[in-house]
Each structure stands twice: as structure tokens, then as C-alpha cells.
Symmetry: D2
Subunit: 376 residues, 4 copies
């Protein structure tokens, strides 16, 4: 089977997200990286292409040149999908041009810098029916997919409470010192938009909640923490939520939880049982029961659902990690491009990205109003 021709925008040099996408795209022998724009500086872009031993003929100056030149290629040579790994404020422009020219897109999150932009992209995608994935990587973990499936299969019954946590501590060494703080781009509204903590990690928790539960957040009340008056960007926040099935919950996020690394946890409590999962130990899923011992499901076992097992490359007892999760999202995109998708939720779609932007705006809004309920 011909590999899907992949281009990449951004992700050059020492980009962490760059290596994740490149590795993920190779995992199932489904994609071939053919070119792109790794850096706004053309020279740096070519240097990087050399470093990864990619021919220079399809390394372009910018996205416009990419589109023009690829357009001249015969259809069976042209890039089929482009991954947008640029800084956040460029996502919109890049994705818009790609959509307008008929490309499939994999876009890093957050999708855009405003909800309005996100809606525009959504409209475009609806029109031309491109495959459009937003890189909410954690939904690629097999046991998250197992959780989603078990909830869909009603194994824990009606959901009556949800609790999601995303705690990190990385901003702590910078936030207390005015000079250090100024150097953190995520704390600079011009580069990072209206939110730091909610925009960066709160959206992950929000998307995860809607992804695994199949429910929607109807309204929320948030309390953010900026720590210092002259700091204009949230570094911590707690968000009360109400879901469309009438139940309540809480999303907790922090970048000042000193010593925490990337502690995303998901707990969904149903009338018949509950499911819990931790990102730092992603190969385990805990199924709590009323009056029965709790069960620990592990990836790679026959008792898991088809989508969970399809997301695993190697038998039980061999840990898979974040690269493998992203690999599963690329796999989902490949299936979609080849019209092969078999399961729901094989990759996070553009609507997840749009909802994420809405969430950010509403959270900031609720806080600024003095912690009032706002509708989504």
C-alpha cells in the first residue's frame, strides 16, 4: 500500500513536538515524510532537512510556496496531509490556507488563538470535507480508548460525577521572579493568547472529559490563580462544570503544583461503577465496583475492546508510551484518508479543537466576571 505523503510545517531544530510527530507518522508504515517548512528561516529549514536526511527539493520557503509548488505536482505525488506544528498564533493562518487548498491537516493544539478563528476553520473543513485532526495526544492511549468504549457500552451506568486533574509544576521556578517570568513565552499574552494554564493544559482535560464520557459541558464556573497582580496570565485554576446529562464535576489544573511533572488524571463515576486513569501510568485502567474487588485492566489483553486492542502494537506487559499514543492518532488519520475508519474516536476531530477554544474563552470569562456560571 502506498504510503500517505506527509508534509510538516514547523517542528524543526530541537522541537520536541517535531520528533513526536515524525516518529508517530512512521509507526505503522503508513506515512512518508516528503517535505515541508521546518523553520521560518529558509536556511535553518534546509539545514534541518539535511540533518534528518530529507531531499531538499520539497523544502519550501513558506506555506504559500509549499501550496503553489505542491499544486504543480501530479496528484499521486502531491502531499496528502500536512502537520501544523508552528507556534500557536500561526495555526489559524496555516490551517486556513491548507484547508482552502484541499489538504488534509493534523494541527497541534490549541487549534487557534480565538474561538472565532476556530469556527472559521470548522466551517471550511465542513465545506471541503478534509480530514482534520487536532493533536490531543492523550486520546491515543489504548486504555483511554478502552475507557471511552466501556462508558459507551454502559458498563458503569449513568455518569453522576466527573473529576479531572492536570497538575504540573514547571512554571514554579519562573513565576516568583519578575525577570524570569518575563522570559517565559507562555506567560506573554502576545505569544500565548488570553490564557496560560487553561489554554495549555486545561483544554486537554476538558477535551478528555468530553472524549471519554461522550457528554458535553453545558456550563462552568471558574476560579483562576495569577499569583501576582502584575502577572496577567493564569497559572492555576479550578473549574466547576455541569454536563448535559445533568451531572456535575470539576476540572483542576495547575502549573504551580511544585514537583508534579505531567499529572493528568481522569475519574468518571457512574451509577454502576467507576473508571480511573493516570497519564503517567497510561497502560493501566482502574475499574471500581460497588461490592466487587476493583479491577485493573492492562493494555494488550483479550478482555479489552477492539479499539483498545487496535491501538496496541505488541503484547501485554510491554509498556507503550506517549509516542505510541500519537502513533495511534496518525493511524486514525491514515485510516480516515484511506476511508478505512472502523471505530469512533480514532483521532480527535476539528470539533474538539473548536470546543477547546470555546472552553478557554468561557473559563476566562467566568473568572473575570467574579466566578460566575457561564454557558458554553
Amino acid at each position: 500500500m502506498s504510503k500517505i505523503r506527509l508534509g510538516i510545517l514547523g517542528g524543526g531544530a530541537d522541537s520536541l513536538i517535531g520528533i513526536v510527530h515524525r516518529v508517530a507518522s512512521q509507526m505503522f508504515d503508513s506515512f512518508e515524510l516528503v517535505g515541508g517548512v521546518f523553520n521560518p528561516n529558509f536556511k535553518a529549514s534546509k539545514k534541518f532537512a539535511k540533518k534528518i536526511d530529507l531531499p531538499l527539493n520539497r523544502i519550501y520557503k513558506d506555506v504559500d510556496e509549499l501550496i503553489n509548488k505542491e499544486d504543480e505536482l501530479p496528484e499521486d505525488k502531491r502531499m496528502q496531509v500536512v502537520s501544523v506544528l508552528t507556534p500557536n498564533f500561526l495555526h489559524f493562518t496555516m490551517a486556513k490556507k491548507l484547508l482552502e487548498n484541499g489538504y488534509n491537516v493534523i494541527c497541534e493544539k490549541p487549534l487557534t488563538t480565538t474561538y472565532q478563528e476556530a469556527i472559521q476553520l470548522g466551517r471550511l473543513q465542513k465545506e471541503n470535507k478534509s480530514v482534520f485532526a487536532v493533536a490531543y495526544t492523550y486520546t491515543g492511549y489504548p486504555m483511554i480508548r478502552q475507557m471511552k468504549q466501556m462508558i459507551a457500552d454502559n458498563i458503569i451506568g449513568k455518569i453522576q460525577k466527573v473529576d479531572l486533574q492536570y497538575y504540573q509544576g514547571w512554571i514554579n521556578p519562573f513565576i516568583h521572579d519578575y525577570d524570569k517570568r518575563k522570559k517565559v513565552w507562555r506567560l506573554n499574552p502576545e505569544k500565548s493568547g488570553i490564557s496560560c494554564c487553561i489554554g495549555d493544559i486545561g483544554t486537554h482535560a476538558f477535551q478528555m472529559l468530553e472524549y471519554v464520557s461522550g457528554l458535553k459541558v453545558n456550563s462552568l464556573l471558574s476560579d483562576l490563580n495569577y499569583l501576582y497582580d502584575e502577572n496577567k496570565m493564569d497559572v492555576d485554576g479550578t473549574i466547576l462544570v455541569r454536563l448535559n446529562n445533568g451531572s456535575k464535576g470539576v476540572i483542576r489544573t495547575s502549573q504551580i503544583a511544585t514537583g508534579e511533572e505531567n499529572n493528568l488524571t481522569v475519574a468518571i463515576y457512574g451509577m454502576q461503577g467507576s473508571l480511573k486513569w493516570e497519564q503517567e501510568n497510561p497502560n493501566y485502567l482502574y475499574h471500581l465496583n460497588q461490592d466487587r474487588p476493583y479491577q485493573t485492566l492492562k493494555k494488550g489483553n483479550v478482555y479489552n475492546s477492539d479499539i483498545a486492542e487496535d491501538s496496541v502494537k505488541i503484547p501485554a506487559g510491554h509498556p507503550e508510551g506517549i509516542f505510541d499514543a500519537m502513533g495511534n492518532i496518525y493511524k486514525g488519520v491514515a485510516k480516515a484518508i484511506n476511508n478505512e475508519n472502523a471505530f469512533e474516536g480514532e483521532y480527535p476531530e476539528i470539533n474538539d479543537g473548536i470546543r477547546g477554544m470555546l472552553f478557554i474563552e468561557k473559563v476566562i470569562n467566568s473568572h473575570k466576571q467574579g466566578n460566575k456560571w457561564v454557558k458554553l
Copy 2:
């Protein structure tokens, strides 16, 4: 050394809390149970005394008789402290009479059914200087005391975020069925006061927060969950808090977290490090650090503080549990009666009980107002 003469009100028959107090009182050879009123039914009370092989001569009809008859005894025979283990709505009357007659008191929580009653008890205790402990058992765990000491010693620096959870699932099998629900006394406002979940377990989390951090909650905003309109008692709630050092936090409580048993967790995040603890694995304390491996402290080791080590009866590697925690509280009370207390916080004091009642009222208040901030 003469044992302290202990009386007990309530706790007869199959009372779970009764056995905890009896065992705890024996743990350090410091107390002798001499009599009491185990049951409002005098016959049942005597039957229970026989069952535990206690002489019947100091088994009384009621608290009034107890006070009258004990008063006739010479001072060196008279009960020195009385544990109040009756249903909640009787705590106030019992404790009031005991205080008015000069007894030291160990009272189960919640201290009373209203904040006003609690204040009255506080005033009485202040006047006569009785030793008065409120049975917030979890503060008796060695590693909670270690946590308190490390925070007091500034090891994690200024606290910048707190997160406490108290999740149970026991009410789930009852709450969804009107008839079953009616039979649960905790869901009956006449027996249980204005709150179920917050009153029963929320107060534990609140007291724990103030105990370990040394801080006070200044204001709060709560969102409670009643699940059904005709149910008048909260079974779940999330409470945003602001502390007197300017930091923020959250207290999360639930009795509908299906499959959770008694999952109280405490996380205190400071500028220099963080401390985390779980009630179901109480012999471990997790110390997170910026840029250093996280440490796991275990009870019974030389690196622990004096109060933590004084709360341990046997060397490292031998688990101690909830009975041992209560034993440490009784030990603290014995020391206080014998004027021997060496450490701060060796038993939870009446003020903890008063604050607890205030907390319950304010949480209900905030929720009823439509999730508004209220001051404590």
C-alpha cells in the same frame, strides 16, 4: 502511673466507633474504662457492660445520673474524662453538662449540630479549662503529623495551592431509590442536621487542611450535589477556598463516587516543594521537589520529626492503622490531663470542632445563595 479514669457515653452494642475508642484508650496503658452509659436503654447498657466484662456499679441510666453519682465519689476515684460517642444531635447536651461539671471531654465529630451550640461549648471550655478533644481521627496518623511539622519547619516554603479530596461511594446503592434513601439516617435532616456529605466527611477534609497547613480558610464558594430534587441532603460537593496567606485551593467531597471506600487525600503545594498523603495508605508521605527525585517518607524512621516518631509504637516496616491513629489522640489527651504535652497538635482541640461547624454552615450557605463567595 495511675491510669486515667475514663467514662463512655454511647458506643455500645455493635457500635463501630465504640470499639475504636476502647482499643485506642488501651494502647498506651494510660486509661482505664470505669463506666458510663452505653445505651439510652439502661438494660441494653448493662448487657453491653457485661459483654465487655465491666463491673455494673458505674453503669448509669443517663448522663445526669452519671454526673451525680460520680460527683459523690472521692476525687481519686471519679471519672476524669468522658468520651461522647452518642448520635450527633446529642453531642451538645452531653458535652455541655460534662463541661459544666468540670469533666474533661473527648467528643466525636461533628462537635454539635449548629455553629451556635459549638460556640457555647467553646466558651464553657475556655472558662473551666477542661481538656477537650474532638475526634478528628486522621490527625493521629504519624505521617500527617510529620507533614504538619515539615510545613511548620518551612521545608516546602510558602504554601501556594492546596487540594484535598474525600471520596466515598457508600451512599450510591441507596440514593437512587426513594424507599432505600428514606431509611438512611444521614439523609434525614432531623437526625443529621443541615448536611450529609459536608457534615460527615467535608469537615474532616477542612479540619485536615487547617491542621497540616497551619493556615485558615478565609472564604469559600461551594457547589453541592443533591442528585434528586426531593432529596434535601447533599451527597457530593466541591468547595473553592481562599486561605489567610492569600493562596487558593479546593476541597472535594463525595459519597457517590461509586467504588471509592474512604479515599481521603491531602496535597499541599509550596514554593519549595510539596507534600502528598493518602488515608488508605497512611504510613507513606510523599515529598515532591523541584529538580530532585521525589522522596517517600515512611513511619518509624529516624528521619522523621519527634512528634511523628512519638506517634509510632513499633519500628519501620510494620504498618499501623486507624486504631493506632485514634490511640495517638488518646495519648495526646492523656498527656494533656497529666500536663505533659510536648508537641503542638497532639490532639484536635475544641476550636477544630467549632471551625468545623462554621464550615458546614458556610458551605450550605454559599451553595444556597447560588454558589457565591462567603466569608468564614
Copy 3:
């Protein structure tokens, strides 16, 4: 119900094991400590009795006086059971005299210092049918009893492999220094018998193996470690075993596993499933299955067997520890004295102690022969 009259030999002053036995005896309101010999020094013994506020009239000079004087008391005042907590080398003499005079006995482990002595005690006990418990405390944990019951109920099928570990590190700071080493009584053959590590902790693992599995060790091959030529006592050892159902296994013990506290683990692998348990987290039992998620059983739940639930004092989610485990053994002894035992294995019997002594001798024997198989 009248409490059982308990005497204690040893366990005075700061004895750790003393406090364990005293607390354990109180846990179910079943025993009353009436006297004993807490110390070979009569003055120290009386001083200790005063400290724990015990009347001095039944504090005796030595075991002989105890037996003589108690004998003069009417039967309904006389001690019914005596706990022997003296140094190991005195167990035999004490227990022998007690048995010869008709007392029930609770004896610390190891039962004696030689197998021959143990056999003598066994013969005496058989003749006079005294209740005789050996304090293998860990068998008092509810989840160990659950494990035993599940194996007896054939839930994991035929046992095909066993693996027990008992790792400590406490001897590490002493063993490498000749002078420090000389001061450790466990490393002194005159005080400690023929073995240090195997005698002290290896026997626990061995007894646990036979207790939970219901099987017997038929033969063994051991490899011990003395670290230094001039050190005559083992501080570490691995023992291959063959069981009477034809299966094989291993017992691993160490006192030089630096940093380990009291890490006793039990793993029993059957044809239909497996069970694992760790002493430092005693309230959990792990049930592994072929092709099903593994289950975690926790104490205090309805799914546990009757004996496990009878060994629990308080509901699920409230940890119980080593004192509670010993309390369960005392409860078993009380039931036996009152002819009430309902379950198998409610306390470790004299035969467990005898087998333990045999085990020690055979392990040393196998090692001394150059790691040869020896029969038990």
C-alpha cells in the same frame, strides 16, 4: 462474658513486643491482664507494673513463683493463659513449665532454640490439650486469611509455584564493622541459636507458605550468606523448596537488603490464577487471572470470606495494621479457650512452631553440606 485472665512473662520496660501483646489482648474486650513476670529483675518488674498501673499482688519473682501462687488461687481467679515474651532461649523452659501445670500458652517465635525442645513441647501440649499459640503475627492479617481461604476453596486451582520474600536491611549498618557486629545479640550464637536471618525472619516466610497454601515443604536446598568468614551467623539466604503436591518454589530472606524495612511478600501461583500480598500494604490482596483483569481485594468488603471479615473491626477503607493482626490472633486464642472457634487457622498452633524449628535446622544443614537437598 468474663474476660480471660492473662499473665505475661517478659515484655517489660521498652519491649516492643510487650506493647503489641498488651494492645492485642485488649482489642476485643476478651482478656484482662492480671499479672506476670515482666523482667528477671523483680524490682524492674514491679516498676513496670506500676508504670502500666497494674496491681502488684500478682507480679511474681519468676515463673516458678507464678505457677505456685496462681495455683493457690481459686480456679475462677487463676490465670488462664500466659504469654511468653522472654528472650528466645527461655521460651522452652517457660513454656514447658506452663504446659506441665495446665496453662494455655501464647509463645513468641521462634518456639524454642532446637527442634528437639520443640518436639517435647508438642508432646506435652498433645497430652494436656492446652491451647497453645505461636505468635506468627502476620497470619492475623485479614487478607492473608482471605488468601488462605481462596486457596482452600480452589479458586486458583492446583498450586504450581510459590515465591516468598522476606527482605530487611537493618543489619547492614552493623555487619561490616567487627566491633559493631559483636554488639548485635542476633549475631551471637549463644543468645540467638544456630541462625540469625533464617531463625528470625526465614521462619516467618516458611510458616506463611505452609499456612496460606495448606501444603507442606518436603525438602529444601539452601544457600546462606555470612558475608565475613569470622561471622558465624547467616544474614541472608535463598532456599529452594519442593512441596508435597509436587510443585517447586523459593523462599528468599535477607537482612542486608539495604533500605528494605520489613518487606515480606507472598506469591502463590496456581493453574487457574494467582494471589499476591505484601506485608507493608497488608490491606490489599491481588488476584491475578488468565485473560481477565487482575483484581484487588481490600479488607472489610462483603466479597471477602467469613474468616477474613471476622478479622476486621471497622469498615472498608480504614486501614488496619500489625497490632490489629496480633489482635486477631488473640481473638482466635480467646475463642479456643472458650471453645468457640469457627474457622480453621484462627491462630498459629504449636505445630507451626515445631515445623519452624525443623526448618531452621534443615536450612543450616543443607547449607553446611554444600547446598544439598535435605528432607524435612
Copy 4:
């Protein structure tokens, strides 16, 4: 930088190990798969090449053709390294031919089927100085490399005890049924050599022991388990070992530990501290100390050594797994081919494979002699 030209022998169709090697080779943009022999059936081989979209011009009938045809290519087109993923009994022939023709080799383990063959390969490799890696994948985990480095840096002092476990349960459903058993190739001596359990997983534990400790096993005594007389292949075994620094230890392996998945654990106890690691949670390393809290090191942190950090692609808190471990081994091979290796132990070398074969023979030998000590 030009990618290294990689060929693969075996690993076609649904081969699990095939996908691991392909993904691993892509992880650092260092290798390009150019051809190979994926299957002894030429048609199947080509079919697989098509499936992964590899040009057919360098898909060969067999290793001989591969060598002949590649030889005709100019040096800068020729394969530089060939991964041997065929069934075990073919490793020797394949690797021998490759070495004789000057290729670098990555060979799956076990290296060969006999020690004699392994020695021959070793001699060849020594002569022509090819880079030769044996795929002991677990040595690619960052925290294993951290462990190795800490031991080399003497952080835990002289090693005084080692304990390694490799427990699986996968053979349990087959071993008890004669017909099912016959169908398992690992239980067929003609396909699998002289050992099943020791050959397949025991060697991993043995290699890991020597890798992390820097010590050598001098002698061993083994006890194997075949379960049934007519079964000629071991499915479980315990091996006592003595190391070249005078210390002792144990290696435990099983394929009948029902319910265990891939439970490889490593515990190294030193005079100054200890290190423990578990393959199923590979991103954590436990550092036990005398009289200090134990520390948990996690991958991706500044406190780790250079080799550990060089083995990580993404910051702390993002789990990496078995594919990433293999990726690190390929990275090590790439560095070696490019003469860039900076650390010791960046890939397992041929000597590890030779030692592994020696280990298997000695273990079988010791058991067959009646559990006698044998020298390595």
C-alpha cells in the same frame, strides 16, 4: 546527515518484533530501511514489502542473494547494517555470512542456539571489527541506564546482593494439555534449542544483571521445572548465582506464573544503598537508602546522568515505552557506525550474546547434574 542504510532479515507479515525494529530504526531519523528478506517465501517477502511501501528492487530471495547483490552496489548505496529477526536457529548462519562479508549486524536474542556457535561469531566480529548489537531491548530503557551509571559511580557502594525476577504466565494455558503443548514452538527442542524458559527470558535477566552491575556471574546452581515428565523443556527455574566480587544472588524465571504478563524486576543491594526497577513501570527507578527516605527517580529530569538523559526524547512526565527502549539501542548502533559513541553501554554487544549462550548451557547443565554448582 545521511541516514544509515538498513536491511532486515525476517520480521515480515505480522511479526511483532518486526514492527519494533522498524519503528525503533526511525526514531532518531538515523536509519533508512532499504531492503532485505522478510520471509523465506520470496512471494510473501515481496508482498510484505509492498504492504510497507518499500521498493521491490532490493527485496532478495535469501541472504546469499542479498550479499551478492548488495556487493555489486557502490559503497555509498550498499546496506551498512542488517537486522537479523529470523527464527532463533537461523541467527547463526545469517549473522556468520553477514560478518564474513563485512556487514554490521543487529541480531535478535538468543544470539545462536549453542555456545560454540556464539563463540565463532565472536571471533569473526573481533577480526573484522563490525558493529554487532544483540537486541537485549530492556537495556535501552533510560532508567536502566541510570541504574547502571549510579552503580558505576559507586552511589550504592559495594554490591552485596542481587535479585532478579522474570515472571510470565503465558505458557500456563498450553502446558497442562498434551496436544496444546505440542503446538507451542518454544516447547519444541528442534525449534527452540535446549531450553524454553531460560533461553527465552532467563537470558534477559542474566544479561541485565551483568549489564547494570558491571559484575560477572562466576558460578551458578539451578533448579528447573518441567511440570510433566514427557515435557522436555523447562518452563520455570530458579538460579543461585555467585558474582565475581564475592557476593551472592538469585535469578528467578517463570512462564507458569499465571496472570503475570512480563514482570521483569531488578534489585541490586549495595552497602550504601539499593536500586530497584520494574519493566512494567519502566520510567521509575527506586533508590533505597539507609536512614533516609527512599527516592523515586523519573526519566527526563536534570538529576539523571547524561546517558539516561540522552536516552529520552521528551520531557519528564511523558511516559516512554518498549519501542523507545529499542529506539535507544538503534541510536547506540547508529552512533557506533558513525564513530560517535559517547557512553559505555549504548547498545548490548556481541559478548552479551555469547555470555547469554554460556548461561543457558550452564543452567541446563547444573540442573541435569542434580542442582550442582557449575562455573561459567
